[in-house]
């Protein structure tokens, strides 16, 4: 488990020490400036004023302050950005070795927040809070000591306002903090509305719901404004009260100090110095108050980041590296996702080199079943084996490079077409070309001016749904898999292309074991095995003919597709 916020600093001890040192040095010199001036005036009064030496001393101090302050700001920037970068890298590395199930569970949005604003809060802690608190503490202690030395009676009177200010501050901040939290929640809400309206831009325009979106936004924005008003209300009270307290202290210097000066127990010089140091004293108290907020925020953020970092490494990672034959055994597999029973006691086996299909209604759990077979998720109950060995005992890399999956939704990276297709490290130039030909992408690639080096973009309109899906297939084939898992692959590819592609796969990848989730019985009628999945359970399995004879559910699905079967068969 990770320690508190300050434990972040441990590896940067040296740099933080330097930061503290520079901060103290520049503040100490700043405290000395009034003394220098007093000395100069005293010297003038005594007729010993030498302009050159004053100029020299003062210049030295001024330059030293300038150098120290700027060095401090460089060190604080460098140090805080270093910490942020290293933390980000650490979190990203942690994420990169995680399982898909984990990312799916904590959601990418939350991880994005961890990587950006949470780490920024920790960064602010180092860049702002540490130097501010060090210098404030130094100034408070320094100025108080000087006051006590000057005149302890008056000093105690003046210092009496400090607890009053501290208590006021504490009370107000205690009320403001929940409001800050609420502000953050409101900002998240606002951002969600903005994000959804951007992602749903087409829908919003089609149904002309701009006004509705605006009303949703207005509600969140209004709340943000109102919380802002309440925070301002509190601060509008706080700042003037603190100034007033300071003024009361000034007043007590005038009244009490004036008394002392008049009765001769205090010099006029000390009286003036009291006023100067009082001004130095108040500001740091405010700073510490504000910084306590920065620290609270940073602690909360650090807690969230530490949660990600302190997640235990995956237990018993598989080590078996072996060539797979394609024999897969799924036995008694159940899967629960949250409250929902997605799969229930599913069993079937795949014979090497055979073609198998999973058919079933929407939300039957087909996709999740495919994820289990691909090793992206672990089942809650039951086992999945490849060649008799449990899926978990295989080395991840060895498994994933031999079991390829084509996802239902297409993921195009902002890379060249070549890098998108040869995404797996185990893809070679030969296998790339073979995959492109098999996926019937040759003509498309040839039509691009830059061919395979064309960069395709995230949401680019340059690719049609079917083109994207064929790229996904080519990506899966490019690593020469032993087992190919297709998730509703043909949904967006036209019938002619689909038939051609599937025939290509059988021809160019002989001996491959195929497991295809599909809606179209016609394309899988001649498969070796068809598994009918409904509401997470296998209701029937067998060949097309067997199922027609035994499974009413299958017959129902089959008949719903009959009307056009004649045409499908032509091809």
């Amino acid at each position: 488990m990770r320690g508190g916020l300050f434990s972040v600093l441990r590896p940067y001890r040296g740099m933080v020490a330097l930061l503290v040192l520079l901060t103290v040095a520049s503040n100490a010199l700043n405290l000395a400036v009034p003394t220098l001036i007093a000395k100069a005036i005293d010297a003038y009064s005594a007729g010993r004023f030498v302009a050159d030496s004053v100029l020299l001393e003062f210049s030295l101090v001024a330059i030293a302050v300038f150098v120290f302050v700027y060095l401090q700001s460089i060190v604080q920037t460098y140090c805080s950005e270093r910490v942020a970068r290293d933390l980000r890298r650490e979190v990203a590395e942690k994420i990169s070795v995680e399982e898909y199930a984990y990312i799916d569970q904590v959601t990418p949005a939350k991880l994005l927040t961890n990587l950006t604003s949470d780490i920024d809060a920790v960064k602010n802690f180092i860049a702002q809070a540490i130097p501010s608190i060090v210098s404030s503490a130094f100034l408070i202690i320094g100025a108080s000591t000087l006051l006590l030395i000057l005149d302890w009676r008056l000093a105690l009177t003046v210092l009496a306002v400090l607890p009053v200010i501290a208590v006021t501050f504490f009370l107000v901040l205690r009320r403001v903090r929940p409001l800050f939290r609420k502000t953050q929640e409101t900002i998240d809400w606002l951002n969600r509305i903005i994000n959804e309206s951007i992602l749903a831009a087409a829908l919003v325009r089609l149904v002309n719901s701009q006004q509705y979106e605006y009303e949703k936004f207005l509600e969140a924005n209004t709340q943000a404004k109102q919380i802002g008003f309440r925070i301002i209300q509190l601060f509008a009270g706080l700042l003037p009260i603190i100034t007033f307290c300071t003024n009361v202290a000034t007043l007590s210097i005038v009244l009490l100090g004036g008394r002392f000066v008049i009765d001769g127990s205090m010099s006029l010089g000390s009286f003036t110095a009291f006023n100067t140091y009082l001004a130095i004293l108040i500001f740091p108290i405010l700073i510490i108050g504000f910084m306590s907020n920065v620290i609270a925020q940073a602690s909360a953020s650090w807690g969230r980041v530490a949660e990600v970092l302190s997640r235990e490494e995956m237990q018993d990672v598989g080590t078996t590296v072996a060539d797979l034959s394609g024999a897969v055994e799924v036995s008694g597999v159940s899967l629960r996702l949250g409250e929902k029973q997605v799969l229930n006691n599913v069993s079937f086996s795949l014979v090497p080199g055979t073609r198998n299909a999973i058919v079933g209604p929407t939300a039957a759990g087909k996709t999740q079943l495919l994820y289990l077979v691909a090793g992206l998720r672990a089942p809650s109950v039951g086992s999945i084996t490849y060649d008799g060995r449990a899926i978990g005992t295989y080395d991840k890399e060895s498994l994933h490079s031999q079991v390829s999956i084509v996802f239902q939704d297409s993921s195009v990276f902002n890379l060249s077409l070549r890098e998108n297709i040869a995404f797996s490290a185990s893809a070679s130039d030969d296998s790339l070309q073979k995959a492109i030909d098999t996926a019937e992408l040759g003509d498309f690639v040839a039509s691009l001016p830059e061919g395979l080096d064309t960069v395709v973009s995230e949401r680019g309109t340059s690719l049609s749904g079917g083109q994207k899906q064929r790229i996904m297939l080519a990506r899966a084939l490019a690593q020469n898999p032993r087992v190919l898992l297709l998730d509703d692959f043909t949904a967006r590819v036209d019938t002619a292309t689909e038939h051609k592609i599937l025939a290509n796969v059988e021809r160019t990848y002989p001996g491959i074991t195929l497991l295809s989730v599909t809606q179209k019985i016609a394309s899988v009628e001649h498969y070796d095995q068809i598994i009918v999945l409904m509401e997470g359970e296998v209701v029937a399995q067998g060949t097309h003919e067997e199922l027609l004879a035994t499974s009413p559910e299958y017959v129902q699905i089959y008949q719903s597709q009959q009307s056009t079967n004649a045409y499908e068969l032509q091809a």
Partner: protein, 597 residues
Amino acid sequence: MNYKLNTSKDVPKGTLLTALARLVPLMAGERRSVVVAAVAILLNSGVTLAAPALIAYIVDHFLLTHNYAGVMQFSLVLVGLYLVGLVAAYVQTLTMGRTGRRVLFALRNSLFTKLQELPIAFFYQNKAGDLISRINNDTDRLNQFFAQALMQFIGNVALIAGSGVFLLVLNWRLGVATLIPAACALIITQLISPWVQRKNLTNMQSQGGMSAEVQESLEHFKVVVAFNRADYFRTRFDEVNQKNYRSATVAGVANNIFTPIYGLSYNVAQVVVLVYGLSLVHAGVMTIGLLVAFLLYANSFYNPLRQLASVWASLQQALAGLDRISEVLSMRSDMQVLDAASWSESHSASGAAQSDVPVPVISFKDVVFGYVAGNEVLHHVSFDLLPGKTYAFVGPTGGGKTTTASLMARLYDAAAGAIYLRGEDIRSLSPSERADKIGFILQEPFLFSGTVGENISYGNTRYAHASAADLAQVLAERGLEGLLERFPDGLGTVVATSGDAMSLGQKQIIAFLRAVLREPELLILDEATANIDTVTEQVLEDILQKLPATTTKVIIAHRLNTISAADDIFFVNAGSITRAGSLEHAVDLLLHNKRQS
């Protein structure tokens, strides 16, 4: 039309005055608050400046003469002064704080309104991740400035001005000398602030790039896992992380340069007052008391100036954010609603209103279209769709089917030619008229966070505010309730952010219900059932059959079973649309035409 947002590094030159001037238009409509705040600021600064003078007076006239009664009397004046200051500071903070909040509120509103006005092309030309980061982060920066820094900024400017005047009035020669270091600091600021601004802009861009990269990688994480490319995520992230680190460090060092510069200028000013002042005292031109006052006022001039320097960075960042927001705000949609009169005269020959032939629901006349100039996607396409019929658009992927459908719903405007909806130029219809007539089920359905019920009634003027029970009844009346069985809690099923937990098939069912419930005259289904199982699809098919006889249906599909019920089939290939006549002909075209996509 180009809606691409600027990613270059051009920065408008910024000085203190131009920066302030750019904030002024935001305050329009806040005149009363600004006046109240200005009065409060003047009073508060007045008190702050007068108090030291009063204390100096007490010292000179009462302490030195041992007159404690005078001390008491003037202390009372001081108390009065402080009380005025207390009230003024309260009013100042409250008024300015609220003004800032209101300005931010209005700015966010106009930004969001603008986003809603812009056509779909804007969203496809800019990366969603970058757009989101731009809007979230930039408004946040403005938020921080308005909520925290603005107050300090304005109060300090008032103090600086007041002290400056005092310095010049007390002794203009020493005053000018005292202000020279400040002038130097300001000149340096002016010289380097474009550079600082540029560094901040670069930093913001690299931040946006980092968010976009993380978002993209995490959304495709299963691919990263399934293809053993943990290293892809790591290297890509490392690259943007390192880039962000460098730009952030440079920006930090640049932003922090102001504090030491202003600190130095204050120290120089102190030396000037001391050395030049003492020489003036020596020459008998001024008294030593005046010299002490000078030191005090130099302090109240330079201290806020130094604070201003620390707020300056925040102002610069706010302005950079404002720039990026202004860029979005200055975008103009080129898809305006045409004046009905202007087109009807010039197009009266379109024959739409002529006698016995029914008016086509949709009519394409010689339509040319391309997403980017010079790359035509549709070439001179013409066809008519008649009311109550079912049309199928088939053809290879990438042939232009979705594009044709998008033009029917005016997601884009044709580059040449015209599109008529019920005989009227589609550009002359108001968005609400158009939305009433057209239902469009998109290829990639989108779900809002909320419930299934809210998603079904989304954007529906009739049922948007219906309760779940009412909505359930409406769906039951139309025989649609059976589809809800696919959702564990029916209409109340919770949809998480962007519907991530829903299957594509479930999303398509919701999109289907959403469109059908609107009872459009023209219903476009763009691969709308591609991921729905055939049994459910049969149910959807029955529902389509039961729609009013006047509903025109446009079905885009690869799967032939979905188009068997079509009255007419169009074959879309390589940007041309031909009428296929029969299903057999369409099948023939599909099977034997060489793909040209």
